[in-house]
Symmetry: C2
Subunit: 598 residues, 2 copies
């Protein structure tokens, strides 16, 4: 069985491309060292391998189902939760006073990457819980924190985020779940929520739903939405889960993949009262949720990267071992068949996968390092860091979701019929990852967010910061050997993207919002490939600097980085132009299509 | 439930784009008329709807499994086979003296399209049988025809094609299944075959395996391969299936999709002798099989088209009905949500799907019409027709396989979370279609076939014929209104493709075969999009000619054709350039990658 993660590449990304080993110079991380981080990552690998990878297929074949009114999960999941809890991963990034290790977010994300790679659907439960706790930590009152946050951080209770409703998925402005104020300051919640991951199970003592609802009489639209803590079981004076809070499981969704994560339809206030506590002020619900959502979007992108990466490694191992055919130049039928990695088209597919997953990993960890910079970096740079992170978030969410699907399609293709069977994990990764362009904001939503909000916010400062950083890396790599292709291709893509965006923005006043946004998808594609090209330049520059001193496997590793960068430069970055041209032309084809013509 | 097929578009393709109604002018089809073809297509729709579509999900959920040594299938499949048989579809294209209707192949393919759209995995059984019978009709002796062909044509016996072995999938030169001559002129067959679709079931009285094997002492490589008829049950003097022929089911493959078609590992000569009869002369096996294979490749392409088409129709219906969100220009939270087809990005995805599936359908039926021309068209054009069909076959197989997967991904995306659940068919189509780039020759094999064989064979005459036909259609559409975008974009793509191929061919002598073929994948992409662009020009030209006289729904249909052509011109054809540039540069990136660098 192929490894689910490349530990060598993770080390490269954290310590050679990013300067994670320097983080202990910051006061919050003063107790840390690279050894601490490595120990944590080693622990993550071992827990992921022993307690998550062990039931990857099981969680797919025996998906959650209801027996005697309870959601039944594969029994290994409870063991996985115990191991995750005992390793301290529920709260490793939190303050020491909360029992945490104050781990940097980039290290925390690297820890999570192991579980995403080993078993994405089982890892959904703790990750939703971590996101839920982060939100409470930021916005909940002190009383709410001691009541709800503590058991979440200890991994005894789990969390969800309950946004969508049957008639309102992407369109949150139209939610109708209602919160009626009660005399004691709490609220009575009624309504139905759809697509709630981890919405019901027996893995934890309680489930803390974070629910978007509208206080009776609140204004229409997003301004009338507030956020509520709604526990599955009401919490007694002793802090322990007590009677039912009447959150009723109305149904399970049966998905193509990602099956181990229960996905539920929940009725609030069925057969009794559902009591909720408001978080912060009324009307702040969507803004608060977006704190969690932005984090979740980086998490989705990283999950996509790791699924793609695991598929790449599986197909790579297969391609090294499977023997079949000969080179076109060899006509001798008595010659032994070669391993299929020798066939150029197989190598093309493996290189393409490598360029996608290693580029995606660099991007996800870079964004995670920006989260750290935002909170613990030099004060004067934080404004720019925040804008850059805002700009990159839709790309970090969408690009790997899409290109890991391409990766996994190539992984299946490399393995041929074998890859199409359930005897290997690649078909499962392919089904699992297909969710990623959908949840936590579809690809279309991300494109609108990018072009309609992030590119223009604060006078376009985020885009300027991005361009400055890319230019700086281009300038710094000018003298390096072996990076010519990626430098040239990136510079071209940057110029094309910049020109397209400037061209479109110049027309914006006359175009109106619908036409300005009509080709937002191309903006996402264009900037996505360009940003990943930049991630490849960063990796290639490190490899070029280190290659002269490296020997053996170490040298092979750097040569692989340089060659994958070249592949991305030559095979992928030229695709930017078609998107840039379309965007710059403000092409109205989709707008002018009429429903009756379909 | 959405319809699985657009009958209006099928009529358009057959009678307005192609001149199918003129085929009865040819002697072989003299008894026919358009009414005959329409009756046949109506029958196909009704049988497909009632007996195939009815168990689409059932064939996925209750996939073939072994009970008491027998392969158990959903019971509706036997009923489907009966209905298909009673409709006369097993032999409708064969000579009247064989009980057939002498239907043109393009009509036969249109008939099959209904079953592929309604239930691809159930339709696998009759289609393999039809292909098997076509091969026997062409190459088997008279005695073999009366013994095996008759029951196949009557749909009482079913057929398979048994090529691959566990160690030899794409690399057929290395098969080791052995045929040992017996005194009576028959052969004793021993060996193991892998990935045999329809290899074991109880749907028919007998199964006729067409098996590639090596006669003892035959030369290595493809020249030593012969073709054998190997029945599951030996055939008695009375022509009835008798004792076991010792073809033993060694295992079932469990696939991601396409589950209803049993896929088997078969042992020949286990527990007793397996007797086979040779077809034609020794050493001709691969050439004979490729007769069936080329037909199967068009069938795979058409199957892919129809899966994509069914997914497009399902997502189109959903997009018309589902209401969600408002346009970016509408800030009123009290406004009613719009149907999601009003959102430009949803319309983009629907237009993209439409451009892929209707372009693919045009291509598949065009290729099928070439099959007719080859056999019944004017004598003097048949040489060119054959070369053009040869050239197009890898494109017809690969392009829809790949772009229907994109279509189905868009169909899921349009439907969001709903599309990802098993409550709707699009996730199933997505899993089913992922097989199509793999079986009957992988995408990589098709690319090598295209660039390494078809582009250059007969002095490049096939390519010349293609260019001539595209130029003729470009010239003929010069004066038409509403086709400017597709004309311009196609002319550009043709020029880019031609220049790239000429550039590469000019370098061929110095490059050597490995480097010449290193970017074969880009040749396939480039020619695929160009040829589909041509198919869109052909459709747009018809629509432009007919639109002035059309009214109401008729006019909407033609406007839809013109707009989809424009979409393909503006959004898709510009992607040709990146592939053309890569091909022309004979880029060696994939060749230079070393195994140790991965």
């Amino acid at each position: 069985m192929a490894p689910f993660l490349s530990r060598r590449d993770l080390q490269f990304q954290l310590y050679e491309v990013l300067d994670t080993a320097a983080l202990p110079q910051r006061p919050r991380f003063a107790e840390h060292s690279r050894e601490v981080y490595d120990d944590v990552l080693n622990l993550a690998y071992s827990v992921a391998e022993r307690h998550f990878a062990n039931h990857l297929r099981e969680a797919d074949v025996h998906e959650p189902h209801v027996v005697d009114g309870k959601v039944k999960l594969p029994p290994q999941m409870a063991d996985a939760m115990r191991a995750f809890r005992e390793a301290g991963f529920f709260n490793a990034h939190h303050d020491e006073e909360l029992g945490g290790l104050q781990l940097p977010w980039v290290v925390m994300q690297a820890v999570q990457a192991h579980f995403q790679a080993a078993n994405i659907s089982t890892s959904g439960y703790p990750f939703l819980t971590i996101g839920n706790a982060n939100l409470l930590r930021e916005f909940a009152s002190e009383g709410q924190q001691s009541k709800y946050l503590t058991p979440l951080l200890e991994g005894r209770w789990f969390g969800t985020m309950a946004l969508s409703e049957p008639h309102a998925g992407s369109g949150l402005a139209d939610i109708t779940t209602t919160a009626t104020p009660k005399e004691d300051g709490t609220y009575s919640i009624t309504g139905t929520k759809m697509w709630i991951s981890g919405g019901e199970h027996e893995l934890s003592e309680n489930i803390v739903h974070l629910v978007l609802a509208r206080i009776k009489g609140a204004p229409a639209g997003v301004k009338g939405i507030s956020l509520f803590i709604v526990p599955r079981y009401r919490v007694g004076e002793d802090g322990r889960p007590g009677e039912s809070n009447h959150v009723v499981l109305a149904g399970l969704n049966h998905k193509m993949g990602y099956r181990g994560t229960t996905n539920t339809l929940l009725n609030f206030g069925e057969g009794g009262e559902t009591v909720g506590e408001i978080v912060g002020e009324p009307g702040q619900g969507l803004a608060q949720m977006f704190r969690m959502m932005n984090e979740a979007r980086i998490g989705v992108g990283m999950g996509a990267v790791m699924l793609g990466y695991a598929g790449y490694l599986a197909s790579l191992e297969y391609a090294r071992e499977r023997r079949q055919g000969r080179s076109p130049g060899n006509k001798d039928p008595h010659a032994e068949p070669v391993s299929i990695i020798q066939h150029p088209d197989v190598r093309r597919m493996l290189l393409r996968q490598k360029s996608f997953v290693e580029g995606g990993l660099a991007l996800g960890l870079y964004a995670s390092s920006l989260v750290d910079d935002l909170h613990t970096g030099p004060e004067e740079g934080r404004g720019d860091t925040g804008l850059l992170l805002d700009l990159l978030t839709p790309v970090v969410k969408s690009w790997p979701s899409k290109y890991s699907q391409e990766t996994l399609s190539d992984a299946i293709q490399v393995m041929g019929g074998a890859g199409y069977t359930r005897d290997y994990p690649v078909e499962l990764y392919y089904r699992d990852n297909r969710l990623n362009p959908i949840h936590e904001g579809t690809e279309g939503i991300q494109a609108l967010d990018l072009l309609g909000r992030k590119v223009t916010q604060s006078g376009g400062r985020g885009l300027t910061v991005l361009l400055e950083r890319m230019s700086a890396d281009l300038a710094a790599s000018e003298e390096l050997e072996g990076v010519a292709e990626i430098r040239t291709a990136l510079a071209t893509a940057v110029a094309q993207s910049t020109a397209a965006l400037r061209g479109l923005l110049a027309q914006a006043p006359t175009l109106g919002p619908d036409r300005f946004l009509a080709n937002a998808h191309s903006a996402l594609e264009m900037l996505g490939h360009t940003v990943v090209g930049w991630m490849w330049l960063r990796q290639a520059a490190v490899a070029a600097r280190k290659l002269p001193e490296a020997r053996g496997e170490g040298a092979d590793f750097y040569r692989g980085k340089l060659h994958a960068a070249r592949f991305f430069a030559v095979h992928e970055l030229p695709k930017v132009k078609a998107h840039a041209d379309l965007l710059a032309s403000a092409d109205p084809t989709t707008l002018e299509m009429q429903e009756a013509w379909f």
